[in-house]
């Protein structure tokens, strides 16, 4: 301005020497400029509330192996400050969170590039954080409920001193952006120097069944560039809140032990300490037929080796011949087509049993109460117990196959593969074979004198427990012909009188 004002007073003839001298002076001045010219570009970033200064030499042909960082504050004549954590470093960035304490100061920052013992370059530039800082958005999460969203923003344990003024006001503002369709709302929760850890802000009065997207960013007072976080969206659903509350309540109760969801499994089912799980082969599915056991008390007849026709009776069952001198017990199968999966071939002729009972005179002695009989000595010790277990009915409801129980009659479902039975029709190949012994695990039976039905459940609920290998022949003692019989069919001689599996 001074030159322009004085220019009019200078005569044109004297102008040329003045211009020549000025140009000469300018060139000389340019030659004598300081060699420490700005040869570096700085990039200041606030990332996760950490102030990171990175740099890049403008002359990329210069590649130092190490760097050293120092700075001076223009309003504080305290001399040059050396950053101890950034001396002789190989990286080209430095964390200055704990070093710089004001955003409104101008920092004259110097970086020295070194290779070995040689200083390759010394570059500087002025950094004004209030305008030069790039604010990366903080980490946050959203939790959607029925009509509100919780926005959880992660703050550091301690906010950097640069961001907090002495009155605890922050140099930054937290902005939460709420988007729904084309509608955008800004929320400005108040933060200060005491805002640390997980900061939760509730966006309420929202519409259920609506998708909302949330973005979070930091806004400096000198807003230059705003870097928004990626959007996080949630669909508000009805019942979300109650479900969330319910779920959290259940989890809490379980953790404190109020809800102890434990199953007292039998020890035999505890496989934890086993190094290997044993999966025995499951037996093939076995047909189950309903049978009715007609219990008839009879006098034990001893054959006197006479062939008296008077002793014959249509109602008397022909004693079955057996090699071992035992009486077979026949069972009558009740096979309603609607309930039993067994075919009609699974029906058996009932054959009363007499001496198998410990109290032969009892009329209503259930099969569960037999004492050890002669035939049982042929079985394993467990067979007797298993027999007892058989006769207890864990299912008190009536079985559709039999609805009546008399004093002399016990009706229960029998797995024909687990008992020794005699078949009426030997030739029928579909008659399933029977087990000689009743498995121990089948059922936990009650004392059921008045029980109508007993179910032989192989593990219950359709599950098949491993059956022991058919080891023993349970020999049913022979019995005298019964006085009662559900059917008029004669007994079938099956040879030695036993069917075993």
């Amino acid at each position: 301005m001074l030159l322009s004002q004085n220019a009019l007073a200078i005569r044109p003839l004297n102008l040329y020497p003045v211009v020549y001298i000025s140009l000469l002076f300018g060139i000389l001045h340019a030659v004598s400029v300081s060699p420490d010219e700005s040869c570096i570009s700085f990039n200041l970033t606030l990332r996760n509330f950490r102030l990171i200064l990175s740099w890049e030499l403008k002359n990329r042909s210069i590649v130092p192996t190490h760097y050293a960082l120092s700075y001076t504050i223009m309003s504080r004549p305290a001399g040059e400050m050396i950053v101890e954590d950034c001396i002789n470093i190989t990286r080209s960035f430095c964390d200055l969170t704990d070093e710089w304490d004001s955003m409104t100061e101008t920092y004259v920052t110097t970086v020295v590039g070194i290779r070995g013992n040689t200083t390759l370059v010394s570059c500087w530039d002025r950094v004004f954080p209030a305008l030069d800082t790039s604010l990366e958005p903080p980490e946050f999460e959203i939790v959607g409920f029925t009509n509100h969203i919780n926005v959880i923003v992660e703050f550091p344990p301690v906010i950097p001193k640069m961001l907090v003024m002495k009155n605890l006001q922050t140099q930054l503002s937290l902005i939460i952006e709420e988007k729904s369709g084309s509608i955008v709302k800004l929320h400005r929760p108040k933060i200060d120097g005491n805002t640390t850890g997980n900061f939760t802000y509730v966006i309420d009065k929202l519409i259920p069944n609506t998708e909302y997207c949330v973005s979070v960013y930091l806004e400096p007072k000198e807003a230059e560039k705003i870097r928004r976080s990626p959007l996080k969206c949630t669909l508000l659903q009805p019942g979300q809140e109650s479900a969330a509350v319910f779920t959290s309540t259940i989890i809490t109760l379980r953790r404190i032990g109020y809800i102890c969801l434990r199953n007292n499994y039998p020890k035999v089912l505890n496989f934890r300490n086993q190094s290997a799980w044993v999966f025995p082969e499951l037996p093939p599915l076995e047909a189950v037929a309903l049978v009715e056991i007609i219990h008839i008390n009879r006098k034990k007849k001893v054959w006197d080796y006479t062939y008296d026709d008077e002793s014959d009776s249509d109602n008397e069952a022909v004693p079955r011949a057996s090699a071992g001198g035992y009486t077979m017990h026949g069972l009558t199968g009740l096979c309603p087509a609607s309930t039993s999966s067994a075919s009609s071939e699974d029906c058996f002729d009932p054959d009363p049993e007499e001496p198998s009972l410990p109290q032969p005179g009892a009329e209503s002695e259930p099969l569960m109460a037999p004492g050890p009989g002669p035939w049982q000595s042929e079985c394993t010790d467990g067979a007797y117990e298993r027999t007892r277990n058989l006769l207890q009915d864990p299912f008190p409801e009536e079985d559709s196959c039999s609805t009546e129980g008399t004093e002399d009659r016990i009706i229960f479902n029998v797995d024909l593969n687990s008992v020794c039975v005699s078949t009426l029709d030997d030739d029928d190949p579909e008659v399933p074979p029977v087990l000689s012994c009743i498995p121990e695990e089948t059922v936990d039976l009650e004392d059921a004198e008045e029980m109508e039905t007993s179910l032989l459940v192989a593990g219950g609920e359709g599950m098949q427990l491993p059956f022991p290998s058919p080891p023993v022949e349970c020999l049913w003692p022979e019995d005298a012909p019964s006085e009662k019989s559900d059917t008029a069919e004669s007994d079938v001689d099956i040879g030695d009188g036993y069917i075993m599996r």
Partner: protein, 186 residues
């Protein structure tokens, strides 16, 4: 019957009072935007890339300005106006040695002037509403503060290095001004 007009009149008075009173929210928004632009313009004044060996100076900004203590909005408006006025005066001085782009400087001066105009229309009403005793002390300290800056320039003969120091201090001053603008709320 005769009192029917009282309610409408009362409502009219309330509305007019609200309309004619200072809209601090609007003023805050305008000043914040202008001040941010001023800072960016000032930041662009790099000039010759010359590093001055003694480019540090503490001009002792008033503590209540630097610490951003609690202000009444009327007091904040007065302080802001005073600071803008001094900024205008400083950048009208001789900066020829800096090599700064004059267009940028002119734009800076225009924006500062615009902020002052916005404040002037509200300051008359502010001065009528109440008289502030606090503002006088702070304004006096501000005058001394900016006086030290001018004295520094004069002592350094408006050299490039002196202007570099003053440029940094003015950036700092405008940053403090941003904090004061936040107090302009309804």
């Amino acid at each position: 019957m005769t009192y029917r007009w009282i309610l409408p009149m009362a409502l009219l008075l309330c509305v007019s009072t609200t309309a004619l009173s200072v809209n601090y929210d609007l003023l805050r928004s305008q000043l914040r935007s202008s001040n941010s632009a001023c800072q960016k313009l000032l930041r662009q004044l790099n000039g010759a890339p010359q590093r001055c060996p003694e480019d540090t100076m503490n001009f002792q900004v008033p503590e209540e300005i630097e610490q951003a203590q609690q202000f009444q909005k009327e007091d904040a408006a007065l302080v802001i106006y005073e600071m803008l006025q001094h900024t205008l005066r400083i950048f009208r001085r001789n900066f020829a040695s800096t090599g700064w782009n004059e267009t940028i400087v002119e734009n800076l001066l225009v924006k500062v002037h615009l902020q002052m105009d916005r404040l002037e229309t509200n300051l008359e009403e502010i001065m009528e509403e109440e008289s502030s005793t606090w503002g006088n002390t702070t304004i006096l300290r501000l005058k001394k503060y900016y006086g030290r800056i001018v004295q520094y320039l004069k002592a350094k003969k408006y050299s490039h290095c002196a202007w570099t120091v003053v440029q940094a201090e003015m950036l700092r001053s405008l940053a403090f001004l941003n904090g004061l603008i936040d107090y302009l709320q309804n």
